[in-house]
Symmetry: none
Subunit: 192 residues, 4 copies
DNA sequence: TATGAATGAGGGTTCATTCAT
DNA sequence: GATGAATGAACCCTCATTCAT
């Protein structure tokens, strides 16, 4: 079906180029459909973008949720969340970018609002995991869970980015261990 | 002088829109000069962008360096580095974004290389502070200092971003304390 | 169809203005299509130019070739070649100019190379007629046929040009006779 | 003096690029004067162009005239005229182009008229030499002398052009001999 | 359901020219 | 006499969108 081909192509093209630099022409070409077909299936570029982002966020949420339903100790759960995100970020270099950072000037306000809402929902989802760790097991520090979620995503994104530019210096495993340490224990050795 | 007006305008426009969405027309209008004046002073858009980024990075490096020359305990130094970065990031909403995350497709390769070099130099600068904390005072954990620098910047950027979208829920001071805690102690209460 | 309209308009505009002075805007206006349509049909200005030149050269080659297939004495054939070229040059004032003399600085090298190749092919075609006259009938002097071809084209072009600026002083027939005499017998009455 | 430096630079730049493609910036740079100085010395681009063309034409006329005052047989005089022109055309590749063929759309009408007048004067000068050969020595055929002049210039220009693109195949001497033969005797061996 | 030719607003860039110094 | 910063019109080109088929 055309719609699916288009979405797949759109994920690729948006991920590689970012919103503004991605062109409907290239999406159509990559999806092997005519340009008109894009507009037959989606009202416009920004709506297509929204669909892509939505799908991406739902994917990672589902992926992560599946892991969390298994009866694991909290510490391990968070390890997995980090691993899942590294997978996603490394796999589709710019996707996290788009989702979390795309400068949005030039997208219609209503689409923009929906995107913000999606992002909010996603951070809430992460925050709820953290809250679980705060309540249930007294594992996590009593910081604001939403800020913590944002901070984790930021850390993961920027370290992935650094890693991708210096793949000779680190292994994927180094990255994962570093991220886990940094996120859970912070920079300081002790702190009274 | 035109050149300064242009740089100021460029900082604004690039910060608000990102590279690709920023237009030379708007920069000229904001700087209250004719479009041709941009090209009299800079060879083109990408070079103007480079100048802006360079200046931004040099600014924050200088600002931070000044603080670090004072004889403060390491812990306080890092507190100040965080505060300086929050200042910068909050002040110019998307500047950090541009510097650290701008999707670069479509910028000439040579300019791109210079930008990467600038970024690398900046992260090295931050890393050197961390290394100092590792060696001199045995304060910092023995993680890779460059990755740690990247991770700090990522944390600050994404929490700032979150804060700017939820200013009703937090004070600037909340943000600062959160960032310091998260960066230095991490998410977990204890970890033996 | 748009493509044909564009080519016709391009012939006119390039002929009247030369490559650098011709503007895509004017071609679009003359073709009564939107500017974007030019770029839908051709990759850019230089490619459009190439198409125009190619078509022009192929036209004159075909036109001439048709004449030469008829079983005429060589002398008459050359008369016809001259007449055909005068037709072309007088009809589309600057076309020959463009083809044979366009200063090419600023056209992409690959297009330029194709144009040179076209020109070379055309001169070879003329040269082959001359060679026929040298061999078969011992009519033509044993000069280098390619130079001779170039020289004929130059003579025709510059006399046409002169004629067009002094139409009151000569008839088309005067021009034709003059060209034939000059090309075939030269300036001197006798030469021992 | 600035004026002279400018004219020399202008000759170079116009010769290399043609009128429309030549830029005042480059002329100024080549003359090592500021851009404003061009406008201090000349009213504008087209006037500067006119000056250059004028000087070029006067140069070649003087150069040729000097040769013709010596008491040579007519045949030799014409040989020299050809040689002088080849020198000029080969030396300054596009100068003849500019003078004899520059498509002039976009130059102010009054300058254009002056240029045409210059060209006319020059062709008359050549024509007068031919006329001398017709009358005095009964050497030249009784063709229209102005057309003959135009035709000679056209031949020389286009053969020079061909030669410059195929320098491996011919020597300068080949070119000179060819031009002399073609111009004076034409293509045909005999013609009764 | 799908197409692709056509559009036109807007983007980056060039350059002859002006003018205060 | 000479400068060079500043201008703005005009250039080539891109691309999201429309619409007849």
């Amino acid at each position: 079906m055309s719609k699916d081909k288009i979405i797949q192509a759109a994920i690729e093209v948006f991920s590689e180029n970012g919103y503004h630099r991605a062109s409907m022409d290239e999406i159509a070409a990559r999806a092997q459909v005519a340009k008109g077909t894009l507009y037959y299936n989606f009202p416009g570029k920004s709506q297509l973008f929204k669909t892509v982002v939505k799908q991406g966020i739902e994917d990672i949420m589902q992926r992560t949720e599946a892991e969390l339903n298994s009866p694991l100790p909290m510490k391990e759960k968070i390890e997995r969340v980090i691993r899942d995100h590294l997978d996603l970020f490394l796999e589709s270099r710019h996707f996290s970018h788009i989702v979390f950072n795309e400068i949005s000037n030039g997208i219609e306000q209503d689409v923009l609002d929906e995107l913000k809402e999606l992002k909010r929902k996603y951070l809430s989802f992460l925050a709820s995991i953290i809250e679980e760790g705060q309540c249930e097991e007294n594992l996590c520090r009593a910081v604001d869970a939403n800020l913590a979620a944002a901070s984790i995503v930021g850390t993961l994104e920027s370290t992935c980015n650094y890693y991708l530019n210096h793949q000779d210096a680190y292994s994927r495993d180094d990255l994962e261990q570093f991220a886990f340490t940094m996120i859970t224990q912070g920079l300081f050795i002790s702190f009274e």
